[in-house]
């Protein structure tokens, strides 16, 4: 089988970098999910879509701006009114969903290759991300499993908090290498490990 190529490719170099005298403040890694799918509900069909997604994937999405859910290898969160990003470490999620969502309810768009998933984890994750995004990353304002859509310069990003000190970022593939450089640069003062 042909393995998909990461857009980071040559710029992804495992190791320790920056100010790591006191250990790495963050760990940067790629989660390389097999599936990234956008599910979008037509106006008024949001609850129907959420129910259909739950039936098909077991992911019970709370109904609310940015609300999300994590369940083992699968996760989902709101990225816009009536729009959700669903992620699965396994491939084929788009196919699983396509039979579950009626044409009148909404649409599914396979973005497995179009978005690159980068994980920022560690005690300084909030500090590093605050350099890039005008988002309140405090746990009270951004609980675990919640997500948001935002941008760093011209780079759009969807972000889901997947742990108290862990965030999964989804950026457009073409921007991924550029964003990775920014992320590494922003992590230098706290020290970072690429894993």
């Amino acid at each position: 089988m042909v393995e998909p190529l990461s857009p980071l490719e040559t710029d992804w170099k495992p190791g320790h970098y920056g100010h790591v005298a006191n250990g790495a403040g963050v760990t940067l890694s790629q989660t390389q999910p097999g599936s990234i799918v956008q599910a979008a509900a037509f106006a008024g069909e949001e609850k129907t879509l959420i129910a259909a997604l739950k039936d098909a994937t077991g992911l019970a999405l709370p109904d609310g701006a940015g609300a999300g859910v994590i369940n083992g290898a699968r996760a989902a969160f709101g990225i816009a009114p009536g729009r959700f990003l669903l992620v699965d470490q396994a491939e084929g999620l788009a196919d699983t969903l396509s039979s579950a969502v009626q044409a009148d309810t909404g649409t599914l768009t396979d973005l497995s290759h179009g978005r690159t998933a980068i994980r920022v984890a560690g005690t300084s994750a909030q500090w590093v991300l605050a350099k890039l995004f005008a988002i309140d990353f405090a746990l009270t304002a951004f609980p675990v499993a919640n997500g948001c859509s935002t941008a760093h310069h011209d780079i759009f990003a969807h972000i889901q908090r997947t742990g108290e000190t862990q965030f999964d970022l989804y950026v457009f593939r073409s921007f991924a290498r550029s964003f990775w450089k920014s992320l590494c640069h922003a992590s230098e003062d706290v020290g970072y490990q690429v894993k």
Partner: protein, 1002 residues
Amino acid sequence: MSARRTAGGGRIDRTRSVRFHFDGKAYTGFAGDTLASALLACGLTLLGRSFKYHRPRGLVSAGFDEPNALVTILRGDVREANIPATMIEIHDGLVAESQNRFPSLDYDLGAINQLAGPLFSAGFYYKTFMGPAIGPLKGTRLWMLCEPFIRRAAGLGRAGYATDRVRYERMNAFCDVLVVGAGPAGLMAAKTAAAKGARVILAETDPVLGGSANWSNETIDGEDASQWAARTAEALAETDNVRLLPRTTVWGYYDGNTLAALERVADHKRVPENGEPRHRHWTIRARHVVLATGALERPIVFPGNDRPGVMLASAAARYAGEFGVLPGARVAIFTNNDSAYAAARALQRQGAAISAIIDTRPNVSETAAGLANEADAEVLTAHAVVATKGGRSLSGLLARTFDYQTGRFGEAVREIQADCLVVSGGWSPVIHLASQAGTAPIWDDALQAFLPPEPTQKWTGAGAFLGHFSTAEALADGHAAGQAAAGGAKARKPALPKVESLPVDPTPAPVYEVASPDGKGGKAFVDFQNDVTADDVRLAHREGFLSVEHLKRYTTLGMATDQGKTSNIPGLAIMAEARGISIPEAGTTRFRPPFTPVSLGALAAERYGELKPDRLSPMHDWHVENGATMYSAGLWYRPQIYGKAGETVEQAYVREAAAVRRSVGIVDVSTLGKIAVQGPDAAAFLDRVYTNMFSTLPVGKARYGLMLREDGLALDDGTTWRLGENDFLMTTTTANAGNVMQHLEYFLDIVWPDLKVTLTSVTDEWAGAAVAGPKSRDVLAACVSGTALDNETLPFMGIVHGEIAGVAVMICRLSFSGERAYEVYCRAGFGRHVWETLIEAGKPFDIVPYGLEALGALRIEKGHVTGAEIDGRTTARDLYLDWMLSKKKPFIGSMMMDREGLVSEERARLVGLVSLDNQPLGGGAHIVEHNDPHAIRDSIGHVTAVCYSPALGKYIALALVRRGKARHGSRAYISDPLRRRFGPVEIVSHHFFDPEGSRMHG
């Protein structure tokens, strides 16, 4: 003036000495010193030369309001000019130099300007640059000759040319309460809000929190105020919900309670930590703000008030109290209020002799008299300073009896020996941020100061900012503000710390200026940094510049880098006096951001060089590895040519394009904008946004589409593929993808929200390679499985699904080059794999990768349009695309496209040009009818795209020319005076090559 270090005291660390350089000479100070305090301790009082007159200048203040002691910091070759010495923390290896002097501070040739003083009065530039209006030089352009000399003589620090390679950074923060200023009021507010559980950020300009507590000599809760401040700050630092930001100046207050701040992270270090920025720019979004920004002492304007050795009373007290430096051995005080008496006593206790206290008021309070007594100082009531003595430093002054209410002088004149004169003209609350987030400031007659305005955003004030000058008031205010900002129930009786302080009342007599009684005594400066005198203000008045805004522009009062922190109120007062009106009637300044200068590096942080965002195709690395010259197209990088050794760009693209026409070529089209248009109403939506019909398009087919804007002009073109009944893949031009997406989203969200359609950018989901040329089908046949590729299965604009080397692909037969061509799409992660397989399969056919230049040449030969022709000014008819304008349905732009001006025969329309002199044509060049290289007029159009056509063996171009097709076969001339190009061209059809399309369809 003989400044010196005191025997003890101050908050400096006398066990750690620090070596630094100023004007090439080594000095030593202590950790905790500013450059100003360290130089003062070394006995230096002359620290700068003034802007226009090159007058010797010394320290006026001890903080960010310093107008005189501006220096340039040198970091290697990088120069940073105009930094107040009062704001620079010394560190080992610091190198600073003085400014605006030649050859040295002590002997400055520019000081000759003082002799020509009257010439450089207010409005000098306006008058001079009009040229002399009378006299023998009238009508000459004398000023043009003088300008370079004037520019050289005036000014402050010199900028450098070296690239600043240090790091700058931006940071976002959110909090419940932002406290600006960490004096007693700010510390108390932060402590109170934090105790209520609020998320607090406390920002302080100085490196050490505490503000006036660090030099006030007061006690709080029985301990030295500075210790109380240090203890409070330490406790806050250990609180989880508090972030302390020392060395951070909040410089702007914007909508939505968003504030901008600059943190000087590493300026005080010889070498920053690994990854540490020099400056960090903070954007802070606060639910509530507490402004505890304190107050600034004002100088009094009097003759000779700029002589080194004349400084603010609070500054002198601060140098003594915080830095253990006495600015003089014999200190005279000139004041209009009681606060300077406390300074007198503090200086006396540190070892200075107080030679006299000159007070404009006829009577002083018992407290003041008592302090004067303790300081062993003679008090001259109802006196004013009318002149200062000395050269580059103060040696004495003249005090004369003075009635401040009438402004009249008596006869008695006293000469007083002093090497330092400290001045207090009252206090102005620092209301700059409040003024950016409030209504107009409010004048207070008693305090003779503008107080903060009514808030228009969520902030609360505390302490001296409100005109409450005692520490006890500051603590009470801070507590209340912290409570209010954090919200929730109020504590009934707050247990506030007890303060022991001198009960001095800073309410001043309204004295701003002591005009010279006899025209002697020297210039009286209002704005030290821009060299604006009291006479300049009066000149502005005489010449009719009465409004405070006109006064400012005419005299440059308050326009220097200090933004008039010490000069605005005195300047306003002098104008009010001249006009015979009150200060609030004369007006005030609404302070703009930034409060203090902000480094450009911090504003531009991480948006340049390697950190500039860019977009890369999935095949980017292959292109680079295979010798492509990459070309930036918007944010994308695309191959321009795959040049061989020794080839010019033209030779390379001609070779590549010729190979496509002869055999086969491959080009990366991954950068084309791709939008998934999905949903039951997708076809109906496309019928509305495209000029032609899409609902009739069968599944498995693609169609070329054109979009107009609402005004009827062309917006973008591209092909859209129907992948399923409710599933379309729209392609757009690379550069226009964002625009088209916004355009479509606008109509979907605002105009037709009832349509069941989803739009998603899938540009990055797909890698695309166009295989073009007579042998293209052979190349595909060699590597594609799972589908037939014959004309019947895959006709022009047909789509098939298959596999290439184990990867699913979509193949659409369409052509930009005019050859038989196929676009092969696969998921982006497999892009390089598929691309390399295609290259391998193409080897027997001599496949050639081609870049943007060849792509351009091929499309010009075919007369296909791009963004160069769809430039926002052209219509479908202009481009001979009117066959695409459906008459069966309305679409965006259909109502407006038939307007008279848009259907005129006179419009510039698409044509082809052939160079008749066999020379290249230039994009953007004009087309003229007359064979006259010198007549730059009568343009009939312009060139949009040029190339050498390998198919025709000629230089050709596309152009927009008036009356278009009607000129086919006629001769014209290309006129390009900027590039010195003029030559004959023939106007022809834009379909240069294979107009019937037999190669593409066959």
